[in-house]
């Protein structure tokens, strides 16, 4: 049973426009959410995170929005650049159970292509 879902395997966006990547989750115990970017043959790179007590977090061109009632989060990249082309993973962790274990549950990723 997939607890974190990224329903769009791929997304193409023109350079300079907004990229919106979506993620849904089912586990109500998740209280911390993260986005990672991954290039082929490299490990995931941490981008931005958000705690469940917030509904928005910004860092430069990246903004993450969290809608807890809908169990939905999204990553906005504005403006999109060709260097943003990569696979983006949504991840979640549960801070309430597992005796302090913050292991991440990942979605399957969305491949973003930014077209020059």
């Amino acid at each position: 049973d997939q607890q974190v879902k990224q329903n769009s395997p791929s997304l193409s966006v023109q350079e300079g426009r907004i990229s919106i990547l979506n993620c849904d989750y089912t586990n109500s115990m998740f209280d911390y959410f993260l986005w990672y970017k991954k290039y082929p043959a490299e490990g995931p790179t941490f981008l931005i995170s958000i705690s469940s007590i917030k509904d928005k977090n910004e860092d430069g061109r990246f903004t993450v929005f969290l809608n807890k009632s809908a169990k939905h989060l999204s990553l906005h990249i504005v403006p999109s650049q060709p260097g943003d082309s990569a696979v983006y993973f949504c991840a979640a962790s549960d801070g309430y159970s597992g005796a302090g274990s913050y292991q991440l549950t990942f979605g399957k990723g969305t491949k973003l292509s930014v077209i020059p």
Partner: protein, 110 residues
């Protein structure tokens, strides 16, 4: 600041053999997590080590094991290798909720 490092980059083993993968966390990070990224399955949590102890493990058989050393580096051992163990193995270190990943070890079992 140096990031998470992993060795070797690639590892080729035969069915039934044992594999050992190594990870050095970011300086000051005490927690190390191991994940497996098999084809078509996404990243899956394997093991969590903190302060030298195994604290939690994912839904993997006992032939996946490891340890954490006093300097917080970690080793993942996979015994009795099976073909489906072929995957990218990623190590991450953390001090808080964010985890920072190494480049991974590509394990191929033939």
């Amino acid at each position: 600041e140096a990031g998470v490092t992993q060795s070797p980059t690639h590892l080729i083993k035969t069915r039934g053999q044992q594999a050992t993968l190594r990870c050095s966390p970011i300086s000051g990070h005490t927690s190390v997590y191991w994940y497996q990224q098999a084809l078509g399955l996404g990243l899956q949590f394997l093991l969590w080590y903190d302060e030298g102890e195994e604290r939690n493990r994912g839904n993997f058989p006992p032939r996946f094991s490891g340890r954490q050393f006093p300097n917080y580096s970690s080793e993942l051992n996979v015994n009795a290798l099976e073909l489906e163990d072929s995957a990218l193995y990623l190590c991450a270190s953390s001090l808080a909720r964010e985890q920072y990943f190494g480049p991974g070890t590509r394990l191929t079992v033939t």
